[in-house]
Amino acid sequence: MPRPMTITEKILAAHAGRESVEPGQLIECSLDIVLANDVTAPIAIREFAATGAGSVWDPTKVALVPDHYTPNKDIKSAEQAKIVRDFAHAQGITHYWEVGCMGVEHALLPEQGVVGPGDVIIGADSHTCTYGALGAFATGVGSTDAAAGMATGTAWFKVPSSLKFEVTGKLQPWVSGKDLILHIIGMIGVDGALYQAMEFTGDTIASLGMDDRFTICNMAIEAGGKSGIIAFDETTRAYVEGRAERAWTVYESDADAVYDKVYRIDAAAIEPTVAFPHLPSNTKLVRDSRHVNVDQVVIGSCTNGRIEDLRIAAGVLKGRTVDPRVRTIVIPATQAIWKQAMHEGLFDIFVDAGAAVSTPTCGPCLGGHMGILAAGERAFATTNRNFVGRMGDPTSEVYLGSPAVAAATAVAGHIALPDDLD
């Protein structure tokens, strides 16, 4: 009998060609997808050249997404994007998306069926952990790891121990996956899951749609986690069917699998939550944060730029206008989401409310472009980080929260709940 294993251990064991693995063990795994973007790929491409490999191990399993500084912000970023484009074309990379097809990588890859349940994925972007929502092992690495992965189709890992987050009960109105993950990060801290896999289970998680699940796994890294994961179920199946480009494998944790710690969370006790500057763990309740005025609201990113996020924001903004002092920027994460939002009439709602609708880009989330803050300015964003200078000047501030609260905040001019607007 192999030892009981968590879903994470099972996926890693299968990709290491072993019957079982245990936390702390150093293993080499075969990879299903290696990802890099216009910030991290140029270094990866330089390092790849140094390996002497010449060509990538499999041109159908490398994904290159120019999404951070694109459409090109300036000459320097145009040069970076060109390095990625030229490499993609020279190597015959099938998963390269040009501006016009491109989207924010962690929304794009699941949507296009490039990543699927049971996969092992490395990405030279810390939010690669997003794909755990599909029941995959996905983790962020640096450019050099991505280069080695592109050359060999393998990567080394220390098998992480796991933390289990068992969430049960019904979420209150206006409480989303974003509030849940902010609540958890606030509880355990920005290194509360350092080197560990965060496994989310319980009837609350089972009741959530894929978009909320992506949001939750996306922010595992903000607790220091190596990965976040939610086991495959019927919701996952409905999402991947007709989408996944490869056959998938379903794994689940054994009932007697070993966890470093089990956190039991009562979903009904969670309220709309906001992370104050300058750490995602610096959480407070929205109802205690109404004194914070903002200059800008950003609704988008790999955390909350999916169609359900836009529907929720539009639901709050419908028939209302944003405070004239609040620059409100809505960024659908992919072209498909953009088109869907347009067809559903969401853009009419956003534009009538006085919000700008952007083409897909990571843009303002990392302080790249498309909504940079001046000295002392404050933004409320549905993004994932609020570090010093994250969205602009080092004296600017970022507050993190859900699309519903972001939309209400845009209307009120200060941090607010949708119910405050009535």
Binding site: I43, G142, A147, L279, G389
Partner: protein
């Protein structure tokens, strides 16, 4: 490997955005990145850092983004080693892969003061605060990781494998 230099002291959760702000990520040139190293946590860092200096910090150094630009900027700024209570996991991998020596020692990280002269023996894991005379021992690297470091980094290992 032995290093000796002045310690630059920081707190916990030093994130990659303050190590190298994203507004400079439109280049991957080490010299260019080094000009802005630690800019948003310590605007005077670049002016005061000297070749051979050491960064000392508390828990979770390098948290946040996967940008390899962070260890590259630190190394290009002249810093020879980072000592911290703990490192965020992507930064830990990136430092090893890019050849920036790092040492995990909560005791040393707590005791060393800003401006102290510190000597580090990376082979034995011995950290000596020359200013105070205190001696600490860092957590040794697992043999597998030590192999990557001694072999000249991850790319050197891959190069060897590709050549076979």
């Amino acid at each position: 490997m032995r290093f000796e230099g002045t310690a630059h002291r920081y707190g916990r959760d030093v994130d990659t955005d303050v190590i190298i702000p994203a507004r400079y990520l439109n280049t991957s040139d080490p010299a260019e990145l080094a000009k802005h190293c630690m800019e948003d946590i310590d605007a005077g860092f670049v002016a005061k850092v000297k070749p051979g200096d050491i960064i000392v910090a508390d828990e979770n150094f390098g948290c946040g983004s996967s940008r390899e630009h962070a260890p590259i900027a630190i190394k290009a700024s002249g810093v020879t080693v980072v000592i911290a209570s703990s490192f965020a996991r992507i930064f830990y991998r990136n430092a090893i892969n890019t050849g920036l020596p790092i040492m995990e020692s909560p005791e040393a990280a707590r005791a060393i003061r800003d401006g102290d002269t510190v000597a580090v023996d990376a082979d034995t894991g011995t950290i000596t605060d020359i200013t105070t005379g205190e001696v600490f021992t860092a957590q040794p690297f697992p043999p597998f990781i030590k192999g990557i470091i001694e072999g000249g980094g991850l790319i050197a290992a891959v190069r060897e494998r590709v050549a076979k």
